[in-house]
């Protein structure tokens, strides 16, 4: 993969990078650091990626790992958004956003990779280094929990 192709591929995945980092890290500067580090690592190891069509899950995997490394050094995640004030949040589905934020960490990232990023079970399995069966069970658990949370919200 040429440097131009790498740059193009990364820019195409910018929104995904942001969503994954937001899912796992609460502070904006931490998200920036994790993404910066993931891009650098991805470039460093890009020759290991033999199939360019798998760039997206491959990059996602690297970023998930970087976020987890940061989580370990930062301690438990407090679920608050700290995006710079100069960048007010565009409109988003606050109800679903809050429901996703309430999920346990492992369910949350699995749900986001599946429902938001559209990754297959196999791709998530590789991204998170967990068996496909675990991906399915986490999705089931995440779905059930989200359903319960959203039902309560809707009923109000």
């Amino acid at each position: 993969m040429t440097q131009e192709a790498f740059t193009r591929n990364v820019l195409e995945q910018e929104a995904m990078l942001y969503r994954i980092a937001s899912t796992l890290l609460s502070r904006f500067p931490d998200r920036q650091d994790a993404v910066q580090s993931a891009i650098s690592l991805a470039w460093q190891h890009h020759t290991a990626l033999r199939d360019e069509s798998r760039f997206r899950p491959w990059l996602a995997r690297i970023l998930v790992r970087e976020c987890r490394r940061m989580q370990k050094s930062l301690g438990p995640m407090v679920l608050t958004d700290t995006v710079p004030e100069s960048n007010p949040l565009p409109q988003r589905d606050e109800q679903l956003h809050d429901a996703i934020a309430l999920l346990p960490d492992k369910l949350r990232i699995t749900v986001v990779l599946y429902y938001v990023e559209g990754m297959s079970h196999q791709e998530i399995s590789r991204a998170l280094s967990i068996p496909k069966g675990t991906v399915k069970s986490r999705l089931n658990a995440g779905r059930a929990l989200l359903g319960r949370i959203l039902n309560e919200e809707v009923s109000e």
Binding site: T7, A48, T134
Partner: protein
Amino acid sequence: MKRFDQTRFQNAFEQPPEAFHETVQKSLDHIAPQPKPVFPSRAVLIIALLAVCLIGTAAAVMVGTTLNDFLNVDMQSLHIPVTNEFAVDGSMDLLNVKVREAASDGVFMHLTVEFSLKDQDGKAMIYGSDVHYLQNPDNPLPSNDVQLALEAVQNSQTVYWFKPNAVTFRDREGVLRRAMYEDCRYESAQTMVVLYWLDLRADDAFEFDSLSAGYPDTLTVSMSPALYIYEKTEKIAVLEKLLSDISNPGDYLTCAEAGKFTISAAPEKQPSQKYRIATFPERFYELRVLSATVTETPLAYYLRLDFQKTEDCTYPDYSMYPEIFDKDGQPLSFFFLTRSARFDTTEPVDNRLEAIYIKHDDRAPHTLCVTPHWDEEKNPPITVQLDLVPAD
């Protein structure tokens, strides 16, 4: 409750702020161009050798999904011979069955088999749980090959649900075993390729060298693929029954054809090195560690941990998930071997955890991190450095 669809989920996240875009751009600006690799003389020799091999086996050269694609590795660069010639016994009216490639690292034999419809006009087949995508349009898009197959299925008059069925063979000690089919890829809606893993070890043995004397010259693999008629109007209830009781699809769908094949292949012995891990904790949570070994073959590293429940164990079952990192702290992707991701204290046969890391980028396992599932607050992850010492 509102329906879960991808657009709604994406709307739960804001667009990346400008400061984030600047971070990405800055990171990209700082990546240095990498010099083109200079091939050492050894690599030149290997390439020359490969060129000779390719000329000599031109007839065996194939296109399409290969073992290298499935395993993300170049078997030839690892000096693992890939076989393309097999004796196949059996035939079906609707389905062509063709064995494409087989290669063995001495522990597993990896086999790719192509299944294709003989009459492809207006017909398509779909595999396993992919039918879910037809019934649940809210699901996110599947991978490209599945997506292409699904589009063709939508436009086909006759759709088959394909079931590879259990593939059986006998291991080195003559024990009848069942293969894992690890992956399946569509080359079209009429052709799919399945990767099988045949575990050549005897049931409870991890002693490759001592068993090599009994290594079989020829492995006979039995397979019984089947095609079922899938009506695109099938109700969700039927589909759910089918997927939850996949062993008896004939109870829910009409069997169009079931076949039987035997394939003979020759797994080749490969050198291997067994290691013990110099310092390993005696306990993982409420489990006693009986042994921890790593075996290296030309293709992969195999990690095996054996556990025993301690007397004070309060949990009915455990699920533990290992992560493996290289010396730079980068994660290595690996596969679990059969049923090994879960330690179940109610099932003595499952008291081990096995993972395989394919050597596709020359990085060796260095650190193991085991995380318990569901109860992380009480049981934080355990990290162990894998100092490998050659076993006697």
